[in-house]
């Protein structure tokens, strides 16, 4: 029953299969299972920017000039599904190459 804190996980360096840096762990994605448990389904990795939190999910439509700025500031973000993670220790090692990773287009929040 090992436990870790999200604060320890966030900020940990992340490497892809070939050891190339994916930046650091930005966030943890969880999903509520039928039994009511919140299971981690993946990590969001990338370069840390304050704007990382700004953009939130799809429900934010900042005025046109800022929309591009926010998306540009978060261009490094990639989503690492839990199955693609070989070793969640420090640093986090992925089983896949960085090129096959996509940004996380999941639902930001809203009426979760």
């Amino acid at each position: 029953m090992a436990t870790t804190l999200v604060s320890d996980l966030i900020g940990r360096p992340a490497l892809d299969r070939d050891g190339r840096s994916l930046g650091t762990v930005q966030d943890v994605v969880v999903r509520r299972t039928r039994e009511g448990r919140y299971e981690v389904v993946g990590l969001v990795v990338g370069r840390h920017t304050v704007a990382g939190r700004f953009g939130y999910g799809g429900t934010l439509e900042p005025p046109t000039p800022w929309h591009r700025v926010l998306r540009w500031m978060r261009r490094h973000e990639r989503y690492l599904a839990w199955e693609d993670i070989a070793d969640p220790a420090d640093p986090v090692r992925a089983r896949v190459a960085s090129t096959d990773l996509r940004a996380w287009r999941g639902h930001g929040h809203g009426r979760v």
Binding site: L5, V6, G11, R32, V40, V41, G57, H107, G108, V112
Partner: protein, 132 residues
């Protein structure tokens, strides 16, 4: 709450206002605890941590260490931040609503100040003047 869509802890849980069972604010979600079961598989969100002491690790760097040492000096008795089991959480959005009362530990400072400082000043127990 059968919502299945995944969500990011940083967007929905972290730094969110906690409202306890009877609707009173009970601090912010300062950190989240993940637990690995023996059978392998992905970890599970097991608890929310709330207490300004828990904020320390999130303020990385020198400020964080400063913060933690200040907290330890202020409250040597309390080493562990207040822990809220995930099962007690009714909903995560728009704020983190609990089904139960907030853990006593979250309100230690509030209680101490109420009894030793604010409670002593006359008029402290006046009723809520709902804006009138």
């Amino acid at each position: 709450m059968e919502e299945q869509t995944p969500f990011r802890i940083g967007f929905v849980v972290l730094d969110r206002q906690i409202i306890d069972g009877d609707g009173r604010p009970a601090g912010k979600v300062d950190d989240v605890e993940l637990t690995w079961e023996e059978g392998g598989g992905p970890p599970v969100m097991s608890a929310l941590l709330t207490d300004s002491a828990a904020l320390g690790p999130r303020i990385s760097g020198r400020a964080g260490r400063l913060w933690r040492s200040a907290m330890r000096r202020l409250r040597p008795s309390v080493s562990e931040p207040a822990r809220i089991a995930v099962e007690d959480v009714a909903a995560f959005s728009p704020s983190t609503r609990l089904t139960t009362a907030a853990p006593e530990q979250a309100n230690l400072a509030e209680a101490w100040l109420r009894d030793h400082v604010i409670g002593r000043i006359p008029g402290a127990r006046r009723g809520d003047d709902a804006g009138e």
